[in-house]
Symmetry: D2
Subunit: 305 residues, 4 copies
């Protein structure tokens, strides 16, 4: 099959590699029907993520069709159309038992396109399939569903829920890229009084306003754009709390059912569409949003459109 | 002044009584501009609330204009247009210090129209004024504001927040009267997947559907209308939690700002309007909703319309 | 092997049955070294739990040694000394993904000694072994560990955590049997100001006082012993919350590590000890606590003492 | 009366000043019976807190006897022995209504010895007395009670509660001064599995171990003592949460009742005792703990011992 391979900092290629095969009783093999590129993939290509070794197939967001499952897989079957989540989970370790799947100690967590081969390929092996893929209802399209692989649960869990957004709050989102816009959409589930978005790019501020932001600020409006030092030694007296995190994807089933019920919408977030074999072009477009206006780019297999 | 007086079970009159006067350093006197009748007032009139003594002026929901304040009042002044909340609070006792104003042990809680004279009058004395009245912004009308005196914070705090409504939940509301419809509106602040309303009256089911309920069920649809015994000895294994409560009104400032910002709407909840001196007629209409279709009735002073 | 079999209401026998065998890729077979009887087993024998069919081996609390594991078991191996929890978990369903293992929809939950054969036997098959057994540290004895199978997590999760016990609280525990005494021990992890225990039996009130209860009340002290009707129609105004639940056992690893670290102690809770083949005698003693003074009875295999 | 006056950076004096008088309907005047010095007072003297103006009487922790109350004070009376808390509260503003008294916008918060004259004097005026002083039960000594003015609620609310300490946790406390040792005592209310204390001073590590720390580490044990930069750009993936805050003192009544009930103990925290007029000596001892071994120093009026 063809796949997008990381060949060390600055180098990527789309070329033939062996097809994935079942390696473990909980594996599934999935034909990739729709796949996206994440900002993290660009970081990997810059060499910022040293745990990714040359030769690795990238990608951790996709929708596909199951073509094989091992004996220990119970919840999905060959032929099922599924979301492939950025997080897999052993379901046994101390973290998994608490729902902290992103911190899995049993071989899961963020491994696709990181520690094992990923989804930017014609096929992908998904470990712990019962806890890593989600069967899709018919009324959710591939293009809608693929946003659930990472940016929707990430913005919802790490941004909105950890941030404790409540009705009537003022929410400020710094950065109106795909994650920022997903945070805008998911924060509005709690009816904040006002959502303020900050971004240096006119096009992204406009994208935020089009999706319901109440105010969009740029560098002209006295928001400092440079990296800022956080002076906790002064801020503590104002009861500042800082939360961070890697997504756990515990919210994925809930978000999927809300998407299916029409309670959550992200229209227009995918700005560019490609065929799978146009992977290199898609990377070029995604890597230069100032020129291309790209938010999220998606690639589709022949049966994925 | 004129006031609606409870004369014992089944008896009410609208007649002359002495004007209220300042009795305590934290009192305010308020001219009533808009006032409503609560289902609780009907219970009192039936004799169901023995702590209400004959001679008591009823009413615990109003909007008015401050005509006098005692020395210890800091936050409001003569001439301010204010919401009079159903709950007053000493601000000193153990419960008040925890925000449980409804359980105040220092002379507050639900006292208006209950343990002291209430708001169904031309004027009313409000104790602990700094924690019992709320200055109103110009863009919130008397008619909108008076719903914040009781039904909005009650449905939000006791129903929606205690009930832990979260995005994607299914919410069932039994009874589509004023409180039920306010619970419908405030539960939607959390974007539930589905709100189901149950009521025996066609008109109230329609009112619920008009305001965004996803499903409205009546006795015909196999919902038992009779009082039900709760079999906790069978239900425990399903992790049932039951929450109850008297409103604390800690959410009133937040709800008021959301109302002012257009984030919370309850159009059409007030179905009948009267002049203050039509109090008896208003009671008759409110007490017979099956005939009159009344949801909430409001009465306005000369300067209150 | 020998096992305690339920033969319909009122009938139990200890007799030969076939040895359990692996049926599923996630099964383990465990030799029972220590096992207890639960009040629930007495309910089953009375016929109160119709989902238990005649022919069923009872028991859902044990410590044992693994003698066989299927291919899909990763976390434990033959020879491991393990706690067998009352709750098993598929680890895949919506409830399991939220940590609500007791409500498992994928074949787990409370099934041992209920829907499948249980632990009151020389051997037992445990499904979903990775999420149903817990490897024991050397410094935790069988007798200490077996209390973690049910009563410690049940009292901690359903009583103490759901009840929101906090430092300085007053806690009232009705019933000073094994669960009540475990609730006493686990509530003290939060340093309540006062724990009051209510029981009709002198011996159980003494057991509670010996274990740190601040006050133990019986029927003589004006506590009504008869079943009580809960008048929610009067109690709501006092902000009453009622929580119920089946244990999920999410706390079992934490409680086990606290037991190993000496942070949690339940001395003297096991009042009677038997050999496994004295199962019928053990039931007789446990079923008549008024005469025998039994709190918890334990039975040990030859290598289990 | 005599008082300790801040005369600008590096300068303090104990000299005659006018007696305080009632200025507001919610004021109380309190005779100081016991008072302590806080590390914050040393910061003020260094000039680190520019909001403190020269001429200010310092001190925000004390126990005393009420000598006068204004008309609006309801909860305490002349003659009452009271704790004076470091935080006062208007009880009216948005923050106070949420229990965030430390952030009071109505004239309260941390004002004693900061924005108004403080407690290191023979008498002190306490604004908003009903929400700023706490009547003491007879069985709590002045020396015990004075620790409730600041370090106990600060360590409990900002450290233990905000930090979410739960049974079985590992807690690390950096700095074993008075606040650190109070955090040790209050974290143990939740039965952590292990409390590790880090301090460079042998005497303070010993003080921590004497009070139940499980491990006390110094610079020799590979703990870096130098200021550390927090690399959130690397730490985010491990779900790091940072909480900060100024104490609100909502927990003061609860902590006081636990102290009275013997559920909370801080023996030996006050290492040095002085008469009120030895204020300058007390500052010298407190400012040089490396030499004097001082933890907390207390000064007592003639009737305060």
């Amino acid at each position: 099959m063809k796949a997008l391979v990381y060949n060390g900092p600055g180098k990527r290629s789309w070329h033939d590699v062996p097809d994935p095969v079942i390696q473990d009783p909980e594996d599934a093999i999935v034909r990739v029907d729709a796949v996206t590129i994440c900002g993290t993939d660009l970081h990997i290509l810059k060499g910022d993520v040293p745990t990714v070794e040359p030769g690795r197939i990238l990608g951790h967001e996709a929708v596909g069709t199951i073509t094989a499952v091992a004996d220990g897989v119970r919840g999905v079957a060959v032929g099922d159309r599924v979301l492939i989540s950025c997080i897999t989970a052993c379901g046994r370790c101390e973290y998994c038992r608490q729902g902290h799947y992103g911190q899995c100690l049993g071989g899961g967590g963020w491994i696709l396109g990181h520690l094992i081969d990923g989804t930017q390929a014609e096929q992908v092996r998904v470990p712990f399939a019962d806890r890593s893929v989600y069967k899709l209802p018919d009324n959710v399209s591939n293009e809608e569903a693929v946003l659930l692989a990472d940016i929707l649960p990430t913005s919802y869990e790490v941004g909105v829920l950890n941030g404790g957004v409540a009705p009537g709050d003022t929410v400020v989102i710094v950065g109106a890229g795909p994650i920022g816009l997903a945070a805008l959409a998911t924060s509005k589930l709690f009816t904040p009084a006002r959502v303020v978005v900050v971004d240096a790019a006119d096009s992204r501020r406009k994208a935020a306003l089009d999706r319901g932001a109440d105010l969009a600020l740029g560098p002209d409006e006295d928001v400092e754009g440079a990296p800022a030092t956080l002076h906790l030694e002064d801020l503590w007296i104002r009861n500042v709390t800082i939360t961070t995190g890697l997504v756990d994807t515990f919210s994925t089933p809930r978000l999927l059912s809300m998407l299916a019920a029409g309670r959550l919408q992200l229209p227009g977030l995918i700005t560019h569409r490609f065929g799978l074999d146009e992977m290199q072009d898609a990377y070029d477009v995604f890597a230069d949003p100032a020129t291309t206006g790209a938010l999220k780019v998606a690639l589709f297999g022949e049966e994925g459109f």
